[in-house]
């Protein structure tokens, strides 16, 4: 039995700070994806929503809210909440329904409306919640990004110029993406003159939080054969947990696991490894990658976790120009989080949408010539992360 499902259609609501209800973005994206797929909403048998902790009663328990807004039609419903990996888990739920034969046609939707500034935890004295503890001590998300960045500088010879070059590259990619929030081609000088947030990272190295929505229509391969000519296939969805002893500093924890009696493990590397194994794809097979540049510096970490280069060689890969559009292995052709800003439950789906457009040869100015295989990677709080591999 094939473990693959087809992506019949994709759709997005442009990222921005629109200030409207997140349901609007989700429905806009869903309708676009349905139209792209050429199927009717009434024929969708399973609707899978990616939830956000914002917007009240976790994203109105997302799947049902999107189904109601599209018009109740009796589909089976699912909601996934997994921080930054919420979209991938919603995708995995839909894939499982299709592969088990319970349904043939599924819709996956994620959307968010974000407040301005730092994302912060619930109030009160709650020392049992690691997220509360770290904020109480003054440790925000950029703190973690900066800790990784500084370590790269001291161990791998990364420079602030490298982090800046990632931002400038991704901004240039995003300038050509109608769904990106920022279309400005930031210059090196503008990045280096922006305010310091968490040394060595400046404001323009750190991603914003955005409003946005993304949706995909999935089907069985059999349904796709009957229906559509050119549907890229999802070959892997990795949503693994870390393995003990997880020995990298991870949001929102104040301490790592102790590796006193168990070997130290890298969580982010394991996310990609699992996806490659599941898809039967090697890093050399990739045409492009969409990775979570929560900070520009973290794109370099992902080059290594995805095995696009050996550990410690990410700076060389970047400086060679390989990861620009037109290079050997373009990364973040969408513009990445640098150009989007993070809309948490929609972001992992937006990454997959970009792969689909690229694999269909419909990415316009951003097109990677002859794209055949792409991978996404992301990671968020509480041990969540995901990678998705899509093949033409």
């Amino acid at each position: 039995m094939s473990g693959e499902v087809a992506v019949l259609g994709v759709g997005m609501h442009p990222w921005g700070k629109w200030g409207r209800n997140f349901v609007d973005y989700g429905v806009h994206a869903a309708r676009a994806a349905l139209k792209d797929a050429g199927v009717r909403w009434q024929d969708v048998q399973f609707v899978s929503g990616a939830a956000t902790m914002r917007c009240g009663y976790p994203g109105y328990v997302a799947g049902a809210t999107f189904a109601q807004a599209l018009g109740w039609q009796g589909a089976q419903v699912n909601t996934s909440y997994a921080a930054c990996a919420s979209g991938s888990q919603a995708l995995a739920a839909a894939r499982a329904q299709i592969l088990s034969g319970v349904c043939e046609l599924a819709l996956v939707v994620g959307a968010d409306t974000t407040p301005k500034g730092f994302l912060a935890p619930a109030a009160g004295y709650r020392p049992d919640d690691p997220d509360w503890v770290r904020f109480h001590l003054g440790i925000t998300n950029p703190t973690y990004f900066a800790l990784y960045a500084r370590r790269r500088m001291e161990l791998c010879g990364a420079t602030v110029e490298d982090f800046t070059a990632v931002k400038v590259k991704n901004a240039a990619h995003g300038a050509a993406n109608p769904n990106a929030r920022y279309h400005k081609r930031f210059t090196r000088e503008e990045v280096l003159e922006s305010a310091m947030v968490a040394d060595p990272l400046r404001l323009l190295h750190v991603c914003a939080t955005s409003d946005g929505g993304a949706a995909l229509v999935l089907s069985s391969l059999e349904f796709a054969r009957r229906h559509a000519a050119r549907a890229p296939r999802i070959a892997a969805i990795s949503t693994v947990t870390p393995r003990f002893a997880s020995y990298e500093v991870e949001m929102p924890d104040i301490a790592t696991d102790s590796a006193a009696v168990a070997a130290a493990q890298s969580f982010r590397a394991s996310i990609a490894t699992r996806a490659y194994e599941e898809a039967g794809v090697a890093p050399e097979d990739l045409s492009l990658a969409e990775v979570y540049d929560l900070a520009s510096s973290m794109e370099l970490d992902w080059y290594e976790y995805l095995e696009l280069c050996r550990p410690g060689e990410a700076e060389g890969l970047l400086r060679s120009g390989a990861t620009r559009i037109g290079g050997r292995l373009p990364v973040n052709t969408s513009g990445g989080l640098a150009s989007f800003g993070e809309a948490v439950p929609a972001q992992a789906l937006a990454q997959v949408c970009e792969l689909v457009w690229q694999l269909r040869g419909e990415a316009g100015e951003r097109q990677v010539a002859g794209a055949k295989v792409g991978i996404t990677a992301n990671q968020g709080l509480f041990g969540h992360g995901s990678a998705v591999i899509v093949k033409r």
Partner: protein, 146 residues
């Protein structure tokens, strides 16, 4: 020195001695350390332990990485007015093979820090409220003036 009483900002996470320690747990079955304390089930998947000794963690370690906070973090952080930027370090404890985050002692700037630098645990006031100084652990380069 204020006349405020000195209390822990987070109760039970560290001792208030002159030479303070973080308080952790050590699994009696496999010997793994945990911070903060654990009292239920060992998180080593190869271990079925559920009994722990309360242990004082090493009060010295080496900097794994470091950064600072240039803007006031949101609540539940209590920011002083005016806000004074502070450094933050992730510190590797050798015996425990564990990395613990914390603020760096007041007055120490990122330019004075380096990966691999030895540091020790100190207590400083995180914020003051109702006649109490709420103390928290911070990392201080070893040998830095008091």
């Amino acid at each position: 020195m204020s006349n405020n009483s000195r209390v822990a900002a987070i109760e039970g996470w560290y001792t208030l001695e002159p030479q303070p320690h973080l308080i952790g747990s050590r699994c009696r079955a496999c010997g793994t350390y945990f911070f903060p304390r654990l009292s239920s089930f060992c998180r080593n998947p190869a271990c079925e332990g559920n009994a722990f000794d309360e242990v004082k963690l090493s009060r010295t370690g080496r900097i794994w990485s470091y950064t600072n906070a240039c803007y006031p973090p949101p609540p539940p952080f209590v920011a002083a007015q005016p806000f004074v930027p502070f450094a933050i370090a992730a510190v590797e404890l050798e015996a425990e093979r564990m990395i613990v985050l914390g603020q760096v002692a007041a007055g120490i700037d990122v330019s004075q820090l380096k990966v691999g630098m030895p540091v020790e645990l100190v207590l400083e006031t995180l914020y003051s409220e109702g006649g109490q100084d709420k103390l928290v652990w911070k990392w201080k380069p070893s040998g830095a003036p008091a």
